[in-house]
């Protein structure tokens, strides 16, 4: 089993509301979507974000557009307007979620590599 960064399978955008950040994760191809759903559990996302996310993580599924929406509470340093971060909105969080490693089955790994996408250990 080869491991790829989520970046090879999906793209993402994050946005803010108060102290809450949300990240939309969109599969590049519809047939990547089931694997992404299987791997991107709320526990994995919460663990990956570590101390950046003080509250809970909720996941919403949008199969019609093969996307997931994650809502991260207590994620913006007390709120956009009070945060001391240079990224108070967490607009860069979309880049962080794409660094989550995903174990990819051989046939899909083959397809990704044919598209020029490299697994983590060989990157």
């Amino acid at each position: 089993m080869k491991t790829f960064y989520l970046r090879e399978l999906a793209h993402a955008r994050s946005g803010d509301k108060g102290d809450i950040n949300n990240i939309g994760v969109v599969a590049y191809e519809p047939h990547y979507y089931p694997l992404i759903c299987q791997w991107l559990t709320t526990d994995r996302v919460k663990a990956h974000f570590g101390s950046l996310v003080k509250g809970g993580v909720t996941r919403y599924e949008l199969p019609k557009v093969h996307a997931l929406n994650f809502v991260l509470e207590g994620a913006l340093g007390g709120g956009v307007t009070r945060s001391l971060s240079i990224d108070p909105h967490g607009k860069s969080y979309s880049a962080l979620i794409l660094t989550i490693p995903i174990e990819v089955p051989p046939d899909l790994a083959q397809e990704l590599m044919q598209r020029g996408r490299q697994p983590i250990d060989e990157a």
Partner: protein, 491 residues
Amino acid sequence: MFLRELINQVRKNVNVGPTQRCKQWMLALRDSIICKGNKTHTDRILRIGAGASYAGDRVGPATELAKHAKLDYLVYETLAERTIALAQLQRLKQPEGGYNELLEDRFLEALPHCRKQGTRIVTNMGAANPLGAAKKTAEIIRELKLGPMKVAAVLGDDVLEYCLANRNALKLMENGLPLASLEGKIVSANAYLGADVMVDALAKGADIVITGRVGDCSLFLAPMIHEFGWRMDDWDLLGKGQTGADMVECGANVSGGFFADPGYKDVPDLGNLGYPYLEVSADGTIVVTKVAGTGGLINRATCTEQMLYEIHDPAYYITPDVIVDFTDVSLDEVGPDRVRIQGGRGKPRPEQLKVSVGILEGWVGEAMITYAGLGCVERAKLAEKIVRERLQIEGVHLQELRVDYLGLNALHRESSLPCKDAPYEVCLRFAGRSREKRDAVKLANEVETLVGKGPASSSIPTKSIREVLAIYSVLVPRHIIKHEVILSEVS
């Protein structure tokens, strides 16, 4: 047959007054006359452009839209959560100000084209002073000799007095505590008004509608309701309208802005990024597109990213006009840079309106210094240790202190991927929040004096002190809002 359909269409609209119904008759009649061949009024396409998505947005792209997109409406959305509170502070210093600082630049460029093409404008550039913005707009119309035109200022979003009077009863959405529990000076409270107030202004014949705080999407929904006579309780139709509005309320974010990732998501000609516009049909089917020949990209990927932007539960996206359900939306690429949006739905609008409360809470001091060359990270770490010691020696009181190593972990802290090699340079940044201004100043000064009194070989530090204008949210009952449309005819 057609006439019967027309009669039914207008009769269905039971919740509008006689004046508006009369207006709708005339519009419907006008549409039936201008429709050619066997097309009916329902074939009409309403074109709504997104000319701005924040206060400082670029001016030129909206002008391009006004020139080339044959728009019925041009919308400028310019209010982030904090913008009105900042504008309110500005207005305290300068009573005639407090509206969008680029209003004059935007209108000087775009208004002549809008006037020529019959494009009406809807905007929240009024910020903390819609009347002042309308007055300035009237001056511009006279200066450019574009009259006669009607300019409307929409008032009613300012609920500061109500919030101050009810500060013990109103609960903060952030933590459930009363508004009165906040320490600091409340400077503004503005409710997110819905499309209805702008529909009112359009029905009064305004060519330009200028508001303060309204729902971002509502700016786009108002023209749809006005032109197609959509009922204000046809939740599915309003849901479809808001789905389209959500797609363009962040302007170029749907047309290739904030999207490019070279080798993964390439965007052509990003420098010449075109802003988007909607083509809306009476049944709520919407195409999002942009002017041919401009840079950027509109496809399923850009639309999906934007649809989820700043959304929590996609089945329950709350706007003042309708609660939108995006879960059944499908996006189809129907041409180059053309995506058709179908399947948005709606649930009844909320009974309460969200209010953003601006409060002055204290100060932030911030300073940065950069080290380069071999051992740069070690020198930066030594500098951090020195500043922390000196803050103690000086007795500086900070509510929170944050230290970042830009180049290593400033954005994602310990979740950052590790660097394989030591960086060649690193920027050390301190940011601290304090109740009193003097503590924020002292923090910044202790970083500044690292040159000469800290480790070797750094850049000259930069520093800044700013007042914290925090935003909290409360909910107020809809019935306390008494909106007002002030219409002026400019000759």
